[in-house]
């Protein structure tokens, strides 16, 4: 992996809420154009790391660099321009419930870009079609959509501004295996066509096998391993063994 460009670089990050830190000196790199799967037990702090990188949680110590600039050192304007270059898919989709699917996708474009109504509509429809949604979904409100469709609309919204990095928080949770496999495939295709870097928090072993270029494992507040799936499978670490070699892990290969 040497010589590849890093888009996110986390160094000695400490995040905590009470006495004991949730993340204790975490160090992690995400390279350009890769899909990084981020795993760990429930409550290990996977989402905490993601939310800290995108600035929703405060950090206690350490540095986070995105596109080579330290987020903490940036002013309001520079920060905004970095934020425009990433898209986030939240676990529950977090679609705005008072807007239709199409309006949800248009929302970030409307805020940041000065486009004609026609172009705005065409691009939003293009994004919805790229995530595999048909025309009849456009006018519907999130409450009228199924779980899988909500995730797709949310992905289209995350991609609205053509970001360089996409953060996905458990993208396949709550989807049936067929839907989850299709979603993995979709992420793979979009990552390829749009040249995205993807940071994916997941629990889904199938996703890890199918789409992730590299996997990072969080345990007891630290990243205990990072590398391709083969490295994970070969590891001697007891947690990794039980995670990847357990009953549910073996099913996959």
């Amino acid at each position: 992996m040497a010589g590849r460009q890093t888009v996110i670089s986390v160094r000695d990050l400490v995040v905590g809420f009470g006495e004991a830190p949730v993340l204790d000196r975490v160090t992690l790199d995400v390279f350009r154009g890769e899909i990084l799967g981020f795993v760990g037990g429930s409550g290990a702090g996977k989402s905490v790391l993601m939310r800290t990188i995108i600035g929703l949680l405060p950090k206690r110590n350490g540095t986070i660099e995105v596109f080579g600039s330290d987020l903490a050192a940036l002013g309001e304007r520079e920060r905004r321009s970095i934020e425009r270059r990433w898209g986030v898919l939240f676990q529950q989709g977090a679609l705005f419930s008072s807007l239709t699917a199409l309006q949800n996708v248009q929302f970030p474009m409307r805020e940041y870009l000065d486009l004609s109504p026609r172009l705005l509509e065409e691009i939003a429809i293009a994004k919805l079609e790229m995530v595999g949604l048909s025309a009849d979904v456009r006018g519907k409100h999130p409450a009228e959509l199924s779980g899988g469709m909500v995730k797709r609309v949310a992905l289209a919204r995350a991609l609205a501004l053509d970001p360089d990095i996409v953060f996905l928080d458990e993208p396949t949770s709550g989807l049936d295996p067929v839907g989850a496999a299709e979603f993995d495939e979709l992420i793979r295709t979009l990552q390829h066509t749009l040249g995205l870097s993807v940071f994916m928090v997941t629990h889904d072993l199938d996703s890890l096998h199918a789409v992730c270029d590299r996997i990072a494992v969080l345990s007891e507040g630290r990243v205990i391993a990072a590398g391709p799936i083969e490295t994970m499978l070969a590891s001697e670490h007891p947690w990794l063994q039980s995670y990847f070699q357990g009953k549910r892990g073996r099913r996959v290969h």
Partner: protein
């Protein structure tokens, strides 16, 4: 990053267009007009080559605009093609080739008059529907009450007492304060006007009758609708949103019996009590103002009070209270059950709950006024 541009050169019937610079979201607005102009300018050509070799950056926005440029020509029967496509951009261009094949539906110009008529019609139908829903819930509630009377052990005492504390006990301070002030204000205004006629002392009659018959119960109901009715709607609404009500049903429990009955029983008990205490606070406020501001001593105030009112004056206010409580509770629960999936709908229904229940309380008050007048109370 180079500025986005589209250079065109004409060779007889052939036009060579070269896209240059960054065709991205940031330049999309500017590019759109460039693309439109190019489509118009070269409409008489027969062959169009769109050369992408000198592009620096391309994203979905740029790719779509190139696709739109090409479609602009091919739709007019021209021969357009894309050349100089790099491998990195090929996937994106092929992707956008598939999208937006169904043209966006034309917005039909709407007739303002018809829209207004449509809205009025919908509002009337909605009003009718909400009356039906109220009647339905009243029916279901009656059934639950009868079932509870047959098996008193089924009443959820803990829940009822909990709601009684919330809508009664905890509402007491604010209700006492408001009614106290209303009583004081009525007395002050009365003294001010009545003094011109030398009839200061009759202010006691006015305040006593007004407070006991109308103002006490109305103020309490408005406060309760705003404070507790809205809370009921929001609670039931968010329970509905999170499928908690469906969960109750699947466990064989009747949401009316579990959720609605304790809430409405609590209101029907609490509102008359609050009305009584509120009316007393209002009279106390009036008495204080009469004494300090109007020079009417407490002895005279009490004597006038005894002369001005008799038991039915007092009863009129208290008889109305439980009925108004029932209306507030019913409207709050109906609106709560009407909430749909979205946060906006929760807000909408909570507003509707307060507005409707206050309106219905006032309408009911009018009906009671006619009723009491005809029975001579």
């Amino acid at each position: 990053m180079g500025v986005a541009a589209l250079n065109g050169r004409v060779f007889g019937e052939r036009v060579a267009l070269a896209a240059m610079g960054a065709w991205t979201a940031a330049t999309a607005a500017e590019l759109e007009s460039i693309v439109e102009e190019a489509t118009r300018r070269y409409e008489h050509a027969r062959f169009v080559d769109i050369d992408l070799a000198r592009l620096e950056r391309l994203d979905t926005f740029g790719a779509w605009l190139i696709e739109r440029l090409e479609r602009g020509f091919t739709d007019r029967g021209l021969n357009a093609r894309i050349i100089g496509l790099s491998d990195a951009d090929r996937g994106l261009i092929e992707e956008v080739r598939l999208v937006n094949r169904t043209s966006p539906s034309e917005r039909v110009a709407e007739n303002r008059f018809l829209v207004a008529l449509d809205q009025v019609g919908r509002a009337v139908a909605e009003m009718g529907r909400s009356l039906v829903l109220l009647a339905q819930l009243l029916g279901a509630l009656t059934r639950a009450v009868l079932a509870t009377i047959a098996h008193p052990a089924r009443l959820r005492v803990t829940s009822t007492v909990h709601h009684l504390e919330r809508v009664g006990w905890r509402a007491l301070p604010i209700i006492l304060l408001s009614t106290f002030m209303i009583g004081a204000i009525l007395a002050q205004q009365g003294i001010f006007r009545f003094r011109d006629f030398g009839a200061d002392v009759f202010v006691v009659d006015m305040v006593a009758i007004l407070v006991l018959r109308e103002v006490g119960v109305l103020i309490v109901c408005v406060m309760v609708a705003g404070r507790s009715g809205s809370a009921y709607t929001a609670e039931l609404g968010s329970m509905k949103m999170r499928e908690e009500i469906d969960a109750l049903r699947t466990m064989g429990l009747d949401p009316i019996e579990v959720l609605v009955l304790p809430r409405i029983v609590a209101l029907v008990v609490a509102v008359p009590l609050l009305t009584f205490l509120g009316s007393m606070a209002a009279l106390y406020g009036a008495g204080l103002v009469c004494w300090l501001y109007g020079g009417i001593s407490p002895d005279i105030f009490l004597a006038r009070l005894r002369a001005a009112i008799w038991l039915p004056t007092f009863a009129v206010g208290l008889i109305k209270a439980p009925f108004m409580a029932l209306v507030i509770g019913l409207v709050a629960c109906v609106e709560g059950f009407e909430v749909e999936g979205s946060a906006a709908s929760l807000g909408l229904k909570t507003t509707a709950s307060v507005v409707k229940s206050i309106f219905l309380v006032i309408a009911l008050d009018g009906l009671f006024a006619i009723f009491f007048a005809s029975v001579g109370m």
